[in-house]
Amino acid sequence: MLAFMLRRFIYMVVTLFLVSILSFAIIQLPPGDYLSSMVAGMSAEGQQVDQQFINAMRDRYGLGDPVYVQYWKWISGIVLRGDFGQSFEWNRPVSSLIYERMGLTLLLSVATLFFIWAVAFPIGIYSAIRKNSFGAHLATLVGFIGLAIPNFLIALVFMYLSFRYFGQSVGGLFSPQYENASWSLAKVGDLIAHMWIPIIVLGTAGTATLIRIMRANLLDELNKPYVTTARAMGHPEHVVLLKYPVRVALNPFVSTVGWVLPGLVSGATITAIVLNLPMSGPMLLRSLLTQDMYLAGSFILLLSTLTVIGTLISDILLAWLDPRIRYS
């Protein structure tokens, strides 16, 4: 087991190394660099920007260097000193910018995950045992509608409705008065009052997928002989269900957790923009748009690491559940 984990860990390091190269390449793909986007912004604000100044800045940021030199500067800083570099735009260390956003991002992601589970579980179980019933179709329909409507559309409409009919303050996770206040009970309450829209919007898309997984797994289990036996022995239906099939059906569920979290972190980008949430997605998008190289690259690297670690966790879980996998 230890060797298995160690081997997977080495794979992970290799993968991350490749990801770091690719993420760097992705940032270089769009034409121009941070300075051209900065100058574009400045000239949109009406300023004339001096070419010599741009050249000097380009030298200072090393943007004129060959790509591999830039890459080396970045990756060696991360590996040797744990230094993710400076954000060009904010003139601050990338790491502090990312960490500031991570707290609320994770909070919201985890809350959304629980929401998804809370909805997908019962619906999944129900639609498996009452397969083809009207209720099952209706429940699945609701789940799928959530999947089918683009997130930004739901977000926009929700926001409009909440503004129009409930007079709630628009966007963000806090009312203005709590935005910069220190943490208090009232602020937590305010946060909770603001969290339901993003949670529902973010959750709708994931729910249908999990309902599907739950239903499929449970159907597989329900067809197995031991269930029939248990039924034949006269156990009440809910005991029969909860004793084994649901638990077994849960296994793949648990092992997908590793995948779900990073998906929420980056997948929430569009929703976070529309709902004006202080999450990592909008900052990632902005850094990509302004070509804030080190910030964007580090973000991609971080999200990839989350995914790879998630995969590793789910693989280890699977190997732990099923020893045969170890030999494969």
Binding site: A3, L6, R7, Y327
Partner: protein, 356 residues
Amino acid sequence: MTLVAKQGIRRSGSSDRRTPIYTVEGLRVHFPITRGVMRRIVGQVKAVDDISFIVYRGETLGLVGESGCGKTTTGRALLRIVEPTGGRITYTPPDGDPINVRTAGRDELKAVRRAARMVFQDPNSSLNPRLPVGEIIGEGLHYHGIARGAEIEDRVADMLRRVGLRPEYIRRYPHAFSGGERQRIGIARALAVNPNFVICDEAVSALDVSVQAQILRLLRELKDEFDLTYLFVGHDLAVIQHICDRVAVMYAGKLVEIGPTQSIFATPRHPYTEALLSAVPRPDPRVRGTGERVRLAGEVADVSNLPSGCAFHPRCRYATERCKTETPQLRPVGEQMVACHFADSLTLKGVGSYAA
């Protein structure tokens, strides 16, 4: 090899029974165990470890043992479904030169696989649910180049009739048949290409008891009709006793005893055989209750980490110090061949002489 030559057979058979059809010498099937990051090979799973036996033309040889003992692997190694890692397997066609199965080229292997066939344990997984039975049975005829076009259909229909299914079912799909019927289809597929050797890999274990009897009867009838030789792999000694001429007992990848069915069942020479036999249900009320059930302590030996000496010694109630250090060799004792240091001195209980 002398060892092979010395194996006992029933004298009463016709002369061609003495002709070997399959000769297995020192067969090994090992799987490497890798450890660590570099996948260093640190050990071997000795699924089959140095076993030798001969299958003679016309007989039914039973291969028994607990699950995991290597019997299925042995059966599969004979057709190179799993690759042997050592030893020699020779198939001798009735009218041709012996073929070294291990080194056979594509065409030779194909010839072996045409003459030597297999019936699988689970008819559900061995029949492709997406093909009609006609196609399943006819596949061998087509790809072994035995028949073409309409001829295939005729022969398949004939084959169906012979295994007791209606020829008009030829276009049905496996899902339309019951378990027993599916196994009949599996048998038909094995026999369609006119083989002379069939490996029945737990061919009836997945079936209900009543159906088992029908299939066994069918197998016996077909054996006579087609002049077949069977290697019958199984764990159910009652079934083995019912159908086999000789029995080979395997434990932890090794052959521990081999000999005529009657003598093995009456006078087992190996403590493991005794233990296996004691678990056989006894339908005869007169003998029921007289035998003492030999309970095997502990688990089947781990083939990736075999005990020293005799692999059976940790579970053997007769084990001595010698058994822990010295590996017993297969040697003739009476009509049988046994791998036990004390085969001569032990008096072990059989199951009496009630069976056919």
